[in-house]
Amino acid sequence: MLKIENLNANVESTPILKGIDLTVNAGEIHAIMGPNGSGKSTLSSVIAGKEDYEVIDGLMTFEGKDLSELDPEERANAGIFLSFQYPVEIPGISVANFIKTSVNAKRKSLGKDPVSASELLKLMREKMSLLGIKEGYISRNMNEGFSGGEKKRNEIFQMAMLSPKLAILDETDSGLDIDALRIVANGVNKLRNKDNATIVITHYQRLLEYIIPDYVHVLYDGKIIKSGDKSLALELEEKGYDWIVKDTK
């Protein structure tokens, strides 16, 4: 599904990603772990196409399409979803309105007519009950005055509404208490199927107790220095990152 080869990217001419290789297939969950500043968030932004990041080398393909030729919205409509670490506020725009705009943008890209209000509402209700979201929530303005947990849940709600092929969860666990974490993780698990894939970016092993990864990658100084199965996450939790760094040097 997603294939990344020798990806090198800069932010304001500072190299951040220094040769990433990663292959994600349908049905898989990959966890990317690493200390602060290792390039985790940069990787997710580069896949999503944020323009502040300059790709200087390497290839990213999504279902065979070269991502470098697609604008961020085209990548989104192709099925790439990024759950933001810091979701932004959009004052005056309700969650429902935003999701409608987003769903219709995707439908338009597929040559479909806009969804009817009743159909959309039905789908929203369905996903809201799946994620344990209360009715009044969708008429609140996008992320305005939301708690950390509400913001993250809003991200997962949008993900549920858009059913992406590839979801990238960027530090979705940060700022969440254990209950919120469980709710968010349950949501992600419920949405999982054999046709979609998930990349979980996280500092801590904690989230991976709820979302069980097939693969764990350690990102350090812009490179994936070690890959393994879920036991690697446990090992990291126990020993920290230093031992791998020493190992690989």
């Binding site: 999503a48 196409g49 944020k50 502040d52 470098s68 961020p72 919205e73 005056g92």
Partner: protein, 484 residues
């Protein structure tokens, strides 16, 4: 993919190449008089309109006042002052048909409406709106008069009102905006060609939104609209005013005067969507919009101004409320968009004279291109206006880095028991917001429209439903291509 710099360059290109959508003229035979202004011209206008002597006297008095005045230049706008002797002060379609239905409307005029996307038939049927169409200063179609008549509501052109309801006109005309109020109001009083008149009798709630579409249609004709709206004790009315204009090369002067009178316990809601030709990308042409709008509130009365201003090359406009009666309420909700080389100096005045008076100001400015948007507002609470309150919120949204935005709030409070709150913010549409929308599949242009609509929501919500939709579309059109 292009880099940011290239995108911004392209943005500017696109901004400046965005053409005015409603630029066209209608070929209707017009009856015009020679250019220039003199006492004779004032007399001629009055004569052409078959006005009574008292009206002619009113005009002449205003003309003589105007002669002693100078065009104001305190606003934060710069433009080449019009040559007042180079303007035609009167143009009317040659025949003034009396219409029972819209089928009788001049086919050319009908076409104009179709181009504007205003289907009057549809509006009549769907929106329950009575439309008094002012085309080049003379009303040619008035609908729903009968329904209104049953309730005793008068809604007609001001010319008709001068003939048919002289007592009401005499009693109220010029009481809120006196001739000598300012240069443009004096000019308007001298030469106004037409406009609307509305009277809501005591205790009557107007059953429909009253709506007037104004257009400027005769090349080189200044448009001097005069609107007088009287809501008698305990009555209620919502009035809509919207306008578009054909594309022009030379500047067109527009100096309207609107007077609202809300007697005890009356409630007036006045909404405007203004979309006059803003000029080309270099700032050539475009309408000069120098408007004096003011309302007076008697005891327990309320006046609410809502405006969405997207057009005109230069806008000078301060819809105001004089809160004369105790417990009266004034409101001002505004969205003002400037793009390309447009300049706007707009805001409001809330004059608190009565006790326990309240006013609210929500002003949202959006500047794009190389435009300049200014908010200028006065909140004045006199000594006797005890326990009065004002809340003002003035926000500016900037798009790109070549535009400007300024806020000039003037606050005068002369007693201890009153309260004034002022909030102001300036923001730019954030890259992060745009990327967030993009990541949800929403293209940049649409994302801007979404963010802007959210930003203006508090104001758009004040508009009647059909108008709100129109206003939203207008915002999108006005900002089309203004982002990279």
């Amino acid at each position: 993919m292009e880099n940011k710099q290239q995108q911004e360059e392209r943005l500017l290109e696109e901004v400046t190449s965005s053409e005015y959508k409603y630029g066209f003229t209608t070929n209707i035979e017009s009856d015009t008089i020679p250019k220039g202004l003199s006492e004779d011209v004032v007399r001629l206008i009055s004569k052409k309109k078959n006005e009574p002597d008292w009206m002619l006297e009113y005009r002449l008095k205003a003309y003589n006042v105007w002669l002693t005045m100078e065009e104001p230049d305190w606003a934060n706008i710069s433009y080449k002052k019009p040559n007042y002797q180079d303007i035609i002060y009167y143009a009317a379609p040659k025949t003034k048909p009396v219409l029972n239905s819209l089928d009788e409307l001049d086919p050319e005029m009908k076409k104009t409406f179709d181009k504007l996307g205003i289907s009057i038939d549809e509006q009549k049927r769907l929106a329950n709106v009575a439309v008094d169409v002012v085309m080049d200063s003379v009303s040619v179609a008035t609908t729903f008069k009968e329904t209104l008549k049953e309730k005793g509501i008068i809604f007609c052109s001001i010319s008709d009102a001068i003939k048919d309801y002289p007592d009401l006109v005499k009693k109220y005309l010029g009481t809120v905006v006196p001739n000598r109020d300012n240069f443009f109001s004096a000019l308007n009083s001298a030469v106004f060609s037409d406009g609307s008149f509305c009277y809501i009798p005591k205790g009557v709630k107007c059953p429909m939104e009253l709506s007037t579409y104004f257009r400027i249609n005769e090349s080189g004709t200044g448009q001097f609209e005069r609107t007088l709206l009287i809501a008698d004790e305990g009555s209620q009315v919502s009035y809509l005013e919207g306008c578009t204009a054909p594309m022009r090369d030379e500047n067109q002067l527009h100096a309207a005067v609107v007077e609202l009178i809300a007697l005890d316990n009356a409630d007036i809601k006045y909404s405007t969507v203004q979309n006059w030709y803003p000029g080309d990308k270099n700032g050539n042409g475009g309408v000069f919009n120098f408007v004096t709008k003011r309302g007076v509130c008697h005891n327990n009365a309320k006046i609410s101004w809502t405006q969405v201003e997207t057009g005109s090359a230069v806008t000078w406009k301060y819809p105001s409320c004089i809160l004369k009666g105790d417990n009266s309420i004034g409101e001002f909700f505004s969205v003002a968009v400037t793009n390309n080389r447009q300049q706007a100096d707009t805001g409001t005045k809330m004059i608190h004279l009565g006790k326990n008076t309240k006013s609210t100001i929500i002003a949202k400015g959006i500047s794009a291109g190389k435009s300049d948007g200014n908010y200028r507002g006065l909140v004045k609470i006199v000594k006797g206006a005890s326990n009065s309150r004002n809340f003002s919120q003035c926000d500016s949204l900037l798009m790109g880095d070549k535009c400007g935005s300024h806020t000039f709030p003037y606050i005068e409070v002369n007693n201890d028991s009153s309260q004034v709150e002022h909030e102001a913010t300036t923001s730019k549409i954030g890259e992060d917001q745009l990327f967030y929308c993009n990541q949800r599949g929403i293209g940049t242009e649409e994302a801007i429209a979404l963010i802007v609509n959210g930003y203006c929501k508090d104001v758009l919500n004040q508009l009647p439903m059909e108008f709100a939709v129109e206003a939203q579309k207008l915002l999108e059109i006005s900002l089309e291509g203004s982002v990279g």
